[in-house]
């Protein structure tokens, strides 16, 4: 059995993808639901500029919070997110090598790619790909982005999203996420994060002030529009992300009815679509500065 700690996995993945020429970014400093929402994914996959990035993204899913009592489900989990744009022909072998870099010896394991398509209605985004199964356990989402912000993508980006807690649990055969070692022979995941899960569960489900959050939503939505009018796409997108997170909290709080849901999703999508279009225009005005930043990488 491999000896696994969460931060060792992060270190190994960062090192591996840095070697592949990726910008190793830090998490986005806002609350987001997934690594995809980080502007270094959602915005960078738009337009003609190449991009290679890898980063950890704490991802908040209020509805999945379980007061720290469920061994698998978390209100916040950690993703390691990689974007390769354009997707290189050898992206699958590269991914396989990243597993080996984490000490997974594929001559001893079963690895399968099962159809799993991805769609994010609030982002106007979808892609085709797989969930990657290691010995029957889903460890990665692998997606070829086809559309984001309602725009057809060209070139196409490959997105690789590793679920870090799952990987650590699975490799260490650990039954509860709270028993994962954050640091080898040091504090566990539970020691580092348990209070966070308990308090945020209580906040999301019991304490969050629905009226206040609704007014926040309206406010950030308007602010996003104002930023766009001022030609400030990155601040506008941040405002959109705040709306997205507010929606998730309101939803967990049970404050979004079935009929509301469609309408609210539409409002966020509107923001994302507007930001996407404006982002491409802004990059064009700058002359697509990243063009030619990476040497062509090898074919298989």
């Amino acid at each position: 059995m491999e000896r696994v700690s969460l931060q060792r996995l992060i270190h190994q993945l960062s090192e591996f993808w840095a070697e592949q020429g990726c910008v190793i970014q830090e998490p986005y400093d806002l609350e987001v639901g997934a690594g995809t929402m980080h502007p270094d994914t959602f915005l960078r996959v738009l337009g003609p500029e190449p991009w290679r990035v890898g980063y950890v993204q704490p991802s908040r899913r209020p509805a999945d919070a379980r007061y720290g009592e469920n061994p698998f489900r978390l209100g916040k989990h950690y993703q390691f997110q990689v974007i390769l744009k354009p997707s290189p022909a050898d992206v699958q072998p590269l991914y396989v090598r990243s597993l080996e870099a984490m000490g997974i010896d594929l001559s001893l394991h079963d690895l399968r790619f099962e159809e799993d398509n991805w769609e994010a209605p609030t982002l106007g985004a979808w892609g085709l790909g797989w969930q990657v199964m290691l010995d029957g356990m889903e460890i990665t989402q692998f997606t070829y982005f086809q559309q984001a912000g309602g725009l057809d993508l060209d070139p196409i980006s490959a997105e690789i999203t590793y679920g870090l807690e799952r990987l650590a649990m699975f490799l260490g055969r650990i039954r509860s996420v709270y028993d994962v070692e954050w640091v080898s022979d040091g504090p566990s995941y539970g020691a580092v994060r348990h209070q966070d899960e308990v308090e945020f569960s209580k906040y999301y489900f019991e304490v969050a002030d629905v009226d206040f959050l609704r007014s926040q939503f309206d406010g950030w939505e308007a602010e996003s529009g104002r930023c766009l009018e001022a030609g400030l796409v990155l601040p506008a997108y941040e405002c959109a992300l705040k709306c997205s997170q507010l929606f998730n909290v309101l939803d967990a709080r049970g404050a979004i009815s079935v009929t509301d849901r469609v309408a609210v999703i539409k409002r966020i999508r509107r923001l994302a679509v507007d930001c996407a279009a404006e982002y491409v225009a802004s990059r064009e005005r700058l002359g697509f500065p990243l063009l030619g930043s990476w040497l062509e990488t090898g074919d298989d």
Partner: protein, 695 residues
Amino acid sequence: MTEFFLEVRCEEIPARMLRPGTRELAMRMFEELMAHQLTPRTVKTAFTPRRLALTLEGLAEREPDREEQVVGPPKSAAFDAAGKPTQAAIGFARRCGLEVDELEIIRTEKGEYLAAQQKTEGRATSELLAELTPRILAGLNWPKVMRWGDGQGPWVRPIHGIVALLGGRIVDFELFGIASGNLTAGHPWLSPKRFEVSDSTDYGRKMARRRIVVKHDKRQQRILAQMKHLAQAAGGRVVEDQRLLDKLASICEIPGVVEGQFDPDYLSLPREVLVTSLRDHQSAFGVESRGKLLPRFLTVMDRADDPDGRVRAGNEWVVAARLEDARFFYQEDRRRPLAERAADLEQLTFHARLGSYAEKTERLVQLGGMICDSLGQTDHADRVAEAAGLLKMDLTTEMVKEFTSLQGVMGGVYAREEGAPDVIWQAIYDQYLPGSTDDPIPQGPVGQIVGLADRIDSLVGIFGLGLKPTSSKDPFGLRRAAQGVVRIALEGNLGIDLDLVAAKAFQLYGDRLELPGKEILESWRPFLFDRVRYLLGLEGYAYDEIEAAVAVGGTNLPDVKARVAAIHTVRGEAGFLPVVLSAKRIANILKDGTEESVRKEILVESAEQDLYDAFQTLREGTEEAEARGDFVSCLRQIAGFADVLDRFFVEVLVMDENLELRNNRLALLRSIQRVLSRTAELTRLVVDKGEYRDD
């Protein structure tokens, strides 16, 4: 004669698309080659998630040369008065690449024309294949396609290599930037090195050396054989599931089987839950012995062995986590009996414009009661009401939220464990039956009645919003619902007028529906009868027999079927064909007649008087037989009426000059027509005789 071998190597194609994609590739290659008179002797296909392969044997080296006659201008326009070729003739010859004196004159229906014999040399097969293979590959109709890299594609997944060999020589082409060649590769991380292949035999041998089994049915056999062996060794047998086996063979190219165990404590979960959790979450089979599950499972890995036991340990870890989840759901769900979940149903939308499941439940209770009344099965009424009231409760359980495929079944299981009577829990359990053509209908009348009510409620509701399915889109599964209605009514022998049930369903919706009831009924009836035609057709009835019975207009399906069966039985008997012909003749005569009653006193000819008398007997006899539901007897009596009808037509002139006599005879025929068409619309029957072809 030579062989064309094609392999396309790509990233993992979704399991459900592999077979249709490969089949389409083979069909289109075959058809196009046939169009070039290069019909292959045999077509063989194979596929794994990462490759599609096609072998066409017995191809000629070239397509045959063709000689074609090209027709030019008429002779009259081709030569002038002096017999010299005109510009028209010279131009035609030039287009054909010939001299005018090499042209010939041919005779056609329209006169004499100039013509040329044109020879087209057949192309080399390799050249033709190089043109059509990439075109066909690129044009395959995948359900979903994608682009990759710098916009290559669209195809189902990125392509990495193409082998195209005709008689061992490379057929040169390019697809999405990938050049064809003779190189392929094995399993991407177990045997990734590329290697050359020379033909299909060499390919098969070299793949086998890498333990890759390219044929799906062989993988399926190997998987099943290994599973049976392992199950036997554990003292049990595999819980059969052909669809799962088919899927497993589609998610690996090396068909390895891995066996795992789980904590026997989980066996306290209902069998349905265990089997579904194993299947849906882990693509795994259960193992049973004497009808009881063992704490074991079997699934596939894309490798031949598990040298360090890690594959097994990993799968066991995941299965344990999943079963723990299932146990949690099961325990949570059982804290609250089904009957106490009514309030939750109000929160659950059946359809945004049709209200909640609570409202649906209310309607189902009423509709079930109405069906019981109509069937005269009032002794079931209480049971039907009880089952209908609990029918949808399981939609609020955690288990069904997790495993939607357990809806209905789970409600049945929970009801059973709560001590509900057999008929109640079984009715809930069976409510989605038949889900597919192989499924039986619900056991027993209570299950059948609620199953019928549920589907008719949905059909009327969705049709009532104007959301009738189209040929390609059926988001609410209404075809399956209608098929369920028809099968339950027919196989359950529920002799009830479905129009009445639908009308009641319409009424129960109150003002929710957007279309008027009449319009809904008129659009759902043909939709329903498409399924009736299909299902009765499957039973071997001819389409005109079905049409003749359907045209009578009833929506009591067992009754419709009895009529079809009666026609089928009587059709070949003496007298039947003549009476059908007479019926058609009457229909022609009466095309636009008036409505009058027959006056016996002015029936003057003996043939018409006899007809009248025989008709009275026929009317009474058929009425009596019809009341008994004895349609065979009805049709036989009608057939027995053939002679007297024939005599009437021979001896009596219907269109008499005396208008009074004429109208009286027409009135008589009209009365007869009503009786003749009461059991079946005889004019719909196709008679194999030129002048009586069906319209």
